[in-house]
Amino acid sequence: MSQDTTTGISIDIRQRLRNPGSVAGAVLLIGAFAFPYLPGTGQYEVFLLGQILAFAIAALAYNVLLGYTGLLSFGHAAFFGGSAYAIGLAMEYTGTSELLLLVPLGVLTAGAIAVVIGYISVRHTEVYYALLMLALAHLIYVITVKLYTVTGGTDGVPITTPTIGGVDYLASWGYAGYLMGVLYYVILIAFVITMVLLWAFMHSPFGLTLKTIRDDPERARAIGIPVRRYRWYASIMSGLFTGLGGAMYAVLNGHVTPGTVLHWSRSGELAFMTVLGGTGWFFGPITGAGAFIIIRSQAQQLTEYWHFMMGLVLFLVIVFEPEGLSGMGARIRRRVRQWRNSGGER
């Protein structure tokens, strides 16, 4: 079975190489690596793209549940914030400031949280799953706020600039050099790793099983798939990678508070990015995270009421284009192709 799938993947890859979309993707990726050195790029732009990539990691992970398993989670802030807090608290209490130790710690903490609350939540589906995730994640938020002697309460925890592989780049290169020369690449590499791994997982028998569950849980159960267990695995995988996104967010921002990483409305934002980009497409959430951060940063410059704008966009997307930006893009491409072939394939 795995033999077949391997050929399946390689055929898929070969087809993708002939596809203009994947060529554009490759160009974008090369552009992303060259980004800090492009003319006119400053610290602000690199920081912004870093934010986009950090959220794109989390949104890709979010889509493992929403797009591939058919589960809406309102509790992903627990993974995102759990990882960020693990890093902040480890720095504060153990004095560790080595990124190569802290990131795995954050990811594993998020994974551990996902093991527990995922195990409990997958006993239910649909609204009940969403609400159970919400309750359990909000429990973590409330406890973090209340235990201010340990967690700093609503003030949050500072995350000082970590060393990377024992080298203190901040001391030798200054903040701009650190951000644009190292940190940005750390985030970019984390993003590429996430993209490659999740793509492979979602195109493996594991991913196909999840899709089967999404499309028809009853039939999946009938053909012998342990549905609940696979939903749990999907929750854990989603949690681990959301944690990676949270870790990148934490080191990029240098400070985390319960309100910015653990509150339930952050889970809503991750859901928003995924839906905005398009849940049915693997790369959709990346577009969604990019659009979200760009709309937000533009709106914030125009008005302090940017939540209004975000809410409006989310509402309009769901009412008029539930397939998100990717769906919109696909429709436009299809129209163009039809127009070119004057009545081609579909």
């Binding site: 809406l72 309102f74 409990i120 006993r123 239910h124 589906t125 649909e126 609204v127 009940y128 969403a130 609400l131 159970l132 919400l134 309750a135 359990l136 909000h138 429990l139 409330v142 406890i143 209340k146 235990l147 509150h263 339930w264 409305s265 809503g268 859901a271 928003f272 839906v275 302090e304 009421y305 940017w306 939540h307 209004f308 975000m310 809410g311 409006l312 966009v313 989310l314 509402f315 769901i318 009412v319 539930p322």
Partner: protein, 307 residues
């Protein structure tokens, strides 16, 4: 000593009941709207802060305009009419307008998408309130000050809380009567079971939908109006009320009035005792309770809808 203990317990119970009152007014509408209309409206909870803000503006305007010239009874009647009638009516008019524009397109969608779209609506409402009333906390203690407080051994307790409890009991009793005894109430319950079958009998189900929707929003606004005189309102609270409304919904069971009453009482009491004896865990207990109920009985204590 014993007297001290008794008055302590009395205060905790009263706190629990007045907390339960707010939760009931907040959660019932959301629960009924989900039960009757099959519409999961996250934004419902934002009508409570809307009611509170509107109440604050009206109270400040009244105090500014008439002040003490009306005398105790006159002023109290004005406050009572403002908070119990004007606020709910105005807010439900806003809610009705929103139903026609924002919520109607969502009725056919799956629950998941309703949750997300109404999350968008709540973000908009939160900012609209911030735009109108500013980011600073708003309070209006005039009605509560007017009523004053009564004394217990070793402490005093505001009459306003007692009033809140009484008004809510009245509302709950009226709703109960409505659903159990009146024709319209029975039709509504039947619609929750099978919308289409009811519409075949020639009953205008859409107009009943709207009535349920408006009543639900009026209740949330009333909750806000009664909550305000003893607390202050900030925009961030909208997002906190959402999650408390969910707690009522989930613990009581979606769409059940009995469930909403029971759940509000349980949460109110747990919170009151929790904040007195283990303040650190006050809110955490609510969500633990919510998770525990969902694990044991996912449809909630009185839920009839299958998971």
């Amino acid at each position: 000593m014993v007297q001290q203990f008794i008055s302590e317990q009395l205060v905790i119970i009263l706190n629990g009941l007045s907390g339960a009152a707010t939760l009931f007014l907040l959660g019932t509408g959301m629960s009924l709207i989900y039960g009757m209309l099959n519409f999961l409206n996250l934004a419902h909870a934002a009508f409570l802060p809307l009611g509170a803000y509107l109440g604050a503006s009206l109270i400040h305007a009244t105090v500014g305009a008439v002040g003490g010239t009306l005398g105790f009874v006159g002023l109290f009647v004005v406050f009572f009419v403002l908070l119990l009638v004007v606020v709910p009516v105005t807010v439900s008019a806003i809610g009705l307008a929103m139903e026609q524009t924002a919520f109607k397109p969502l009725y056919g969608l799956e629950d998941d998408y309703q949750l997300l779209a109404t999350f968008g609506v709540i973000l908009m409402m939160e900012d609209a309130m911030k735009f109108i009333w500013g980011g600073q906390p708003v309070s209006a203690t005039a009605p509560a000050n007017l009523l004053g407080s009564f004394s217990l051994p070793g402490r005093t307790y505001p009459w306003w809380s007692v009033l809140t409890i009484l008004v809510t009991v009245l509302v709950a009793a009226t709703l109960y009567y409505f659903f159990e005894e009146t024709r319209l109430g029975k039709i509504t319950l039947a619609m929750a079971e099978d919308d289409e079958a009811v519409s075949f009998t020639g009953i205008d189900t859409r107009s009943i939908h709207l009535k349920v929707f408006v009543i639900g929003i009026a209740l949330a606004a009333l909750g806000g109006a009664l909550y305000l005189p003893l607390a202050s309102m900030t925009t961030g609270l909208a997002l906190e009320f959402v999650i408390l409304a969910f707690a009522v919904l989930v613990i009581g069971g979606l769409g059940s009035l009995k469930g909403a009453i029971t759940a509000s009482l349980i949460i109110g009491m747990v919170q009151a005792y929790g904040s007195y004896y283990v303040p650190v865990l006050e809110l955490a207990i609510v969500f633990l309770l919510m998770a525990a109920v969902m694990l044991v009985k996912p449809t909630g204590l009185f839920g009839e809808i299958e998971a």
